[in-house]
Symmetry: C2
Subunit: 198 residues, 2 copies
């Protein structure tokens, strides 16, 4: 049969404004709040430019603070429900290093910094990525209440699941700033995509 339309590849990329913004960032961000502030700026720009949902994530070398990648949510513009900020950032960092395991032999420990707790999908993506440290602005229902984004069903005891796999969890970094940005997003009459609601 004629399957000339059957796709064999797809491209996921950051918005047009991202390369210039990346150039503005220092190569090293030793301070945890500075790392989260950079992530929050990308999330905010993604909302302002209407280039995706209000989420961003960055991969850093945990100890030096070297910036490896920043990703933003690209679900709606790229027509890809898996293009969450965490998947973008982790995949970009893995491509840069040429590894599928950011915790592999010979590599420094890597950290993922996100402006809220990962959804059900991204929680799994975090486990498989090889990062050793996860930094989030918050993990309770406040974000969902403001934005109406659905995080999906998390495993029971997801914090313990991270610990079991040697992934440290740091919560509450710039929480109020993150929530203020979610309020701005919610006030912008945005597209909020959630999967099947039954």
């Amino acid at each position: 049969m004629d399957h000339t339309t059957l796709p064999c590849r797809f491209v996921l990329d950051l918005p047009n404004w991202a390369p210039d913004e990346l150039q503005q960032l220092p190569q090293f961000l030793p301070d945890l709040k500075a790392r989260m502030a950079a992530v929050l700026r990308f999330a905010r720009l993604n909302t302002e430019n209407q280039t995706g949902g209000p989420f961003a994530a960055g991969v850093f070398e945990r100890d030096s603070g070297r910036l490896m990648s920043i990703g933003v949510n690209r679900v709606v513009p790229l027509n890809c429900s898996s293009a969450h900020a965490e998947v973008m950032a982790l995949s970009l960092a893995q491509q840069r290093l040429g590894v599928y395991d950011l915790g592999g032999p010979g590599l420094p420990a890597h950290q993922l910094v996100v402006n809220w707790s990962p959804c059900a999908m991204c929680f799994g993506a975090v486990l498989w990525s090889g990062i050793r440290s996860l930094v989030i602005a918050g993990a309770d229902a406040a974000m969902m209440a403001i934005t109406s984004f659905d995080e999906g069903p998390m495993p029971d005891k997801w914090r313990e699941e991270l610990a079991k796999r040697g992934i440290e969890l740091i919560e509450g970094v710039l929480r109020q700033e993150a929530l203020a940005d979610f309020r701005t997003f919610a006030a912008s009459n945005p597209v909020v995509y959630n999967g099947r609601q039954g």
Copy 2:
């Protein structure tokens, strides 16, 4: 600072053998076992050609059986820990249709057929994809026991979570055939990548 190496895009593609194999498939596969057999063939070819893990997934129109996409696991060759078969198939189908929601208005119901139950990450990817039907060869510990792949922590009552979101689940299609292929994979002295094991 000089961030000329900071990546802004990545490409995920099927192996070189895939386009020819896709051409061999009928445009419509009305029978559920025929859909799973096509998926199993792609998983087997992925093992034989050493182009990724022993997993494949296909997106079909649920009622007509029209083939929309097939994906295979590409984690190791593409250096991308998120490039599981389900993410590949769902993203390729979404790109083909130009939608981020395979269950969106005006679309026929779509079905994902996979040669085992989704891992923790892909379970979330299934929820966000918009598919209405998930068909798997099995969901118990047999695959993990044979291959030593780790599925990660699933949410409690994940079957009920699918049902709550209007996603039907059909289990046990060509189970023995799937397990036989996992045994062949395990006997090939393969790379088995699991994330942080603590």
